[in-house]
Structures are given as C-alpha cells and as structure tokens.
C-alpha cells in the first residue's frame, strides 16, 4: 500500500509538519483546546448580560431601597443609594394604614379581595380556555376555525371598545357587580391568548394518542381529562402565569365591574398612589407597589423553567 505517490504527498505537506508537528511521532496539540477563562468573547458575553441584568434589576432595586427609606432621606439623596437608616414604616403604612378617603386600612383591605377574584377567575378562565383549545385542536367542526380567527382578532380590540357593551350585557345577565360577573369578564378577555396557547399545545401533541384513546372508547371529556390533561402541565403553568399576572394586575375591570367591597388590591394601590397628601410619599408608594406585585412575582420565580418549556410548546409551534 505504501506507494511512492503517498511519499510524495507527505513531502508536499512538509511545511505543515513544521507548524503542527510531524505525523511520525504524533506530537502536537492534544486533548482539549486550552482556553482562557477570560477570552474576549466571554468578556463581551458576560459583560453584556451583566449590564442587561443591571438594567432590568435597577427598578426593583430602586423600589426596594426607596421603600425602606424615610421621606427626608428620599428628598435628600440618591434614589439608587441604599438606605442609611432602614425603616419598615412605609411597608406598615402601605399595608395597613394608608388612607383612601375614609378608609385607612391600606392594601390589606384589597388583598383578600384580589385573592377572591383571582382564584375563581384563574380557574374558570383556564378551564374554559383549555377545553376550547382542545376542541379546536382535536375536534374541529364546521366553522370552528372561523370562530377561532375571530377570537384572535379579538385580542387586538382595545378594551375600551367593549367596556360599555359589556356593562349592558352583564346587566342583562344579572351578573353586574357580582364577583361572578368579574370572573366572566376575566374569562372573556383572557380567552384569545390562552385558547391560542392551548390549541397550539394540544395540536402539537401526537395525534395518534388521541386516536388510540378514541379506539379505546374514550369520548371528548374522558380523552381530555385522562389523556390530555396529565400531559399538559407546562402549558397550564404558562397559562396560569399569564392569567395570574393579568388578573392580579387588573385595575380597570376590577373597578368598573364590581362594587367597592370587592375592589381588588390594585384599586387600593391606585388610591394610595394617587391620593397625594402634600408631597408624594414615595416610600409608601413603592412599598405598596412591591406588596401588590408580590404575588405575580412569587409565581414567576417559583415556576422558572416550566414557563420557558410551556412557551416553547405553546407559542412557537403552530
């Protein structure tokens, strides 16, 4: 096999030998390429990410720091500086003492209202959306896609357009002012995006599974409950996060479609923030803001990776 031609080739490669070591003794680079921990690319990459993180964290930092300062310190100093003297008074005030009109109970009054709104709204809206998404993905009927298209366009309609007609609608249904009326409104407005997510998710699930279940004699509901549901944790997490944040943060619906005893926390927040008494009490405002944002934030931090996974399954495909 060692013919002269091959020797020629080797000779021609000689300059290379000098650079990378000869074949004969098998020297030269070996194993993993040596890599500086601080390569230029890495510095750029991590540098950018750190800068970005600072930008995103800055407001949170400002909120927390401000909420721990007293008013004089705020007026004097730098909003980014940590408090020289930590005080929890603003938190106490925001939670329990801040006044709106005659009510001086702070946010505490709204918190439980928000919970009472949140729980049924999230459950009902997700239940309805998931069933609809499932029907759209797996049980198409004549016109179902048209309804879905309308629903999607509905996502773009400004809420203001529907504020009045829905008031009238709720009045006719006798639900106006009740908690269930509000649940209905949240279900309606959460529908487009959630149905889209669920539909895409269920459509991406193997069709054969669904067929197998039908052959096994399972009907619409049984397939949904026993086959689809147990496989849909990620998308439920995504949907839940979107609904929890959306509903918890809602102000307009909460205030337009219910009565004061049901006003959610955001109404209190708005009241605290907008009831300026003399100077704005920024520390109280920030504490109130943080308190209000706590629930969705916790949900976010807790759900972590599932969210990305669910998004991947529900938003990207389809």
């Amino acid at each position: 096999m060692a013919d002269p031609a091959s020797l020629n080739t080797l000779a021609a490669l000689d300059p290379v030998h000098e650079r990378t070591g000869s074949v004969g003794d098998m020297t030269g680079p070996r194993g993993r390429r040596p890599r500086r921990a601080f390569s230029r690319a890495n510095i750029f990459l991590y540098g950018t990410l750190i800068l970005v993180s600072v930008y995103y964290l800055l407001p949170l930092w400002v909120m927390v720091m401000t909420s721990l300062k007293g008013m004089p310190e705020i007026r004097m100093g730098n909003i980014f500086a940590p408090p020289m003297e930590v005080t929890f008074q603003p938190w106490v005030k925001a939670w329990a003492e801040a006044c709106t009109g005659l009510n001086c109970e702070g946010l505490s009054r709204g918190f439980w209202n928000s919970v009472r709104i949140l729980v049924p709204s999230v459950i009902v809206s997700i239940a309805v959306a998931s069933v609809s998404g499932y029907a759209l993905a797996r049980w198409r009927f004549k016109g179902s896609e048209t309804f879905f298209a309308i629903l999607l366009i509905g996502a773009f309609i400004p809420y203001q357009v529907m504020l009045y007609p829905i008031v009238i609608l709720l009045r006719e249904l006798g639900l106006y002012g009740s908690l269930w009326g509000l649940v209905l409104v949240h279900t309606i407005f959460g529908m487009p995006i959630n149905v889209l997510l669920f539909r895409n998710y269920f459509a991406a699930m193997p069709e054969e599974l669904f067929k197998a279940a039908r052959v096994d004699g399972a009907g619409f509901w049984r397939i949904f409950l026993q086959i689809m549901l147990p496989m849909s944790l990620p998308i439920f997490v995504v949907s839940m996060i979107i609904q929890v944040t959306g509903i918890w943060n809602d102000f307009l619906f909460g205030v337009v479609y219910t009565r004061p005893e049901n006003y959610p926390m955001t109404v209190q927040l708005n009241n605290i923030v907008n009831s300026v008494q003399g100077v704005k009490e920024y520390n109280v405002n920030m504490a109130a803001t943080l308190l209000t944002g706590l629930v969705p934030l916790i949900v976010y931090f807790a759900s972590g990776k599932l969210f990305v996974r669910g998004i991947a399954a529900g938003a990207v495909k389809g």
Binding site: L209, R214, V215
Partner: protein
C-alpha cells in the same frame, strides 16, 4: 351465500379533503382471519384508509362493513377493532397496566374480567414484568408490545396496524415482525397492516394490497405480487433491489431490444393472443443466473461489472445492459470486483413483460 366469509368489506370508499381526493371509489374485501397488508409509497392513502376503517376519519362517500355490520357511522370503539400506531401512542402518564385496561374500563367491564384479560395479554406478549412501569421506562420494542396488548385485551375482530415497526431499529423490527406473525397464527384474527417496508409486507401478508394514489393497484398473495406483478408499477415497487427493466418490442413471441433479442417461448402470457407492440421486459436481479447455474438458463449473455455491493448473505452486482443499469444478485460468497466480465443467464418464464404504454402486464 357462496361468497367467502368476509371480515371487512369496503364499498366505494371515497375520501376528499377539499379539492384533494385521497381515496377514490375504493373497494376491498378482507377475509375472516386474513392478514392483509396495505403496501404503498408515502402519501398514497394507506393510513387514511386504515383510519376510515377504524372510524377515525369520516368517509366522504361509501360504506364499510365489519363482520357483516355496516359500521360506517359507528364510533371507533363500537366497531370491534383494535389499532396499533407507529408512534405506539401509549398514554404516557399511565402504567402499562393502566394502558391496557383503559379501554376496558371505558366499556365499564367488571374489574375481575379486566384483570384476567390484562393478565392474559401480558402473558401472550411476555410483558408481565413490565406491568407496573410507565411507558417512558420501556424500550421501543417493549412499548410496541404494550401497544399491541392494548388491542389484544379488547378482544376485537379486526386488528389494524399502522406501520407499527417503523420506529424500531432494524434488528428489533425483524424480531417483532416474527412476533406479530406468530400472534396472528395463534389468534386467527383478521389483521390489516400498513407498511411501506416490502420485506414486512412479503413476510407477514396472506394477501398484499398495493396502493397508489388512493387506489388499489393489485391485490394478491405475496407470491403473486412478487412473481406475477400486474403492472410495471407493482413490479418496480416490490423487490429490493428492484427489478431490471429493458425497453424493447414484443414481436411474435420474441422480445427485441437494442443489441439483443430474447425468445419468450417459456413466458406465460396473460392473454392467449398478444399483438405486437412496444414492450418492457422486467427481470428480477435474483432471477439472473450466474456461475454454475448459467448453463440451465435458456438465454445467455455477458456483462461487465460496474459496482459491487456485498450485503453479507448475498452480493449485488451492478452492470449495464442496453446502456441502462442492470442489477444482478449473486451469492454472498461470490468474489467479483469492478471490471470483471460476467456471463449471465435469463429464464423468460421467471420474467415479466409489460405493455410500454399502459404499463400493464402482457
């Protein structure tokens, strides 16, 4: 009635998606206890047909009978069928036992009966030790066994398989193929099996239906399909490596092509009288005699080896005849290399001849 006992009858089945017609006036009778394989290239409508039989797709027109019952409008679960899918389609969150009993529970069967059936199916398929595992903890072959078990427990008249082995590797595929064959021998159910793997089709089928664009091209035993294909399409489709085709003319008992002619005396014509016409002669690579066997063949010739593909048990040799590639299948122990001259022999009785225009068998 004198007709054979039909298990599944399909009458004028048509299925369209908007403007696309996937199945067109399809008729098919499947005998009781028969193993019928639907074979065809991708997209020809095999799965669609199977789904129609299962009731998972609604036909646009036509009727489907199972065991003499018109099931066209029945729910899948009421048709007495079981189905096994390519992707196994096991319920991922249930154990194997749960998977097997799901359908039975849906039918509100008594617990004791369910257990008995699951146990029996598990025994038959040898998956008893796996009953409490979840599908994720099973290998591909085991999963497919469970999927088969799911059909088994339901004690159905007709088994439908949609490419059940495609997701398995070659080795496992061969093993499971044998198991399915055995299962059929033991159960004597009707089985309809979709595949596009012809080895599977040939080994498993009692009869094969070759499909093309929503129509059945030929329905027959593997032997018929292989040895007496009714059209060039079927001839080309079946057999790997595929049949060699030679273009030429049929003239009074002789096939003439550029550079040679073959006396078709031993060939059994489809019709007593065949007029002269342009024709195509098809010869399977393994029907080309080489070595010692050449002498037994009526017609001989010589070719040059272009390419050699050793495949273990046998060796495929590529040569040229009339300017077109010509495949010859030789024994695995044959030692040939590129450039060798090879004497070959052809036996017209093992060949197939087609009309050049209609591509139908002559």
């Amino acid at each position: 009635m004198l007709v054979p006992n039909h298990s599944v009858r399909i009458r004028d089945l048509t299925l369209t998606y908007g403007a696309i017609t996937v199945l067109r006036d399809l008729n098919l009778d499947i005998h009781d206890g028969e193993f019928l394989v639907l074979l065809g290239s991708s997209g020809c409508g095999k799965s669609t047909l199977l789904n129609c039989i299962a009731g998972l797709l609604e036909p646009t027109d036509g009727q489907i009978f199972i065991k003499g019952r018109n099931v066209t409008w029945l729910e899948p679960s009421e048709r007495g069928i079981g189905m096994v899918f390519q992707s196994y389609a096991l319920y991922p969150q249930m154990t194997v036992r749960g998977n097997l009993s799901f359908g039975l529970k849906n039918a509100r069967m008594a617990q004791a009966e369910i257990e008995a059936r699951v146990a029996k199916a598990a025994r038959i398929l040898q998956i008893e030790p796996l009953l409490d595992r979840k599908p994720a903890a099973l290998s591909g072959g085991q999963r497919q066994r469970v999927a088969i078990g799911r059909a088994l427990v339901r004690d159905v008249d007709v088994f439908l398989f949609d490419e059940p082995l495609s997701n398995l590797d070659a080795k496992l595929r061969a093993d499971l193929r044998v198991e399915i064959k055995r299962l059929h021998q033991d159960l004597d159910n009707t089985m309809i099996y979709v595949t596009h793997d012809q080895v599977e089709a040939m080994t498993l089928a009692d009869r094969i239906a070759i499909m093309r664009s929503g129509k059945v091209m030929q329905l027959g035993t593997p032997d018929e399909i292989y040895n007496r294909p009714q059209s060039k399409y079927v001839a080309d489709f079946i057999g790997s490596p595929s049949m060699n085709f030679l273009d030429g003319h049929y003239e009074r008992g002789t096939f003439r092509a550029e550079g040679f002619q073959i006396d078709m005396a031993g060939y059994q014509l489809g019709a007593p009288q065949v007029a002269d016409r342009p024709a195509i002669l098809g010869i399977r690579p393994e029907h080309v005699a080489t070595g010692a066997l050449v002498n037994a063949a009526p017609i001989k010739g010589e070719v040059t080896v272009d390419l050699v593909e050793p495949m273990g048990a046998d060796t495929l040799v590529w040569a040229q005849v009339a300017g077109k590639p010509f495949r010859i299948r030789m024994d695995g122990q044959a030692r040939v290399v590129r450039g060798d001259r090879l004497t070959i022999g052809i036996d017209p009785s093992k060949a197939s001849m087609f009309d050049a225009k209609t591509e139908e068998r002559l």
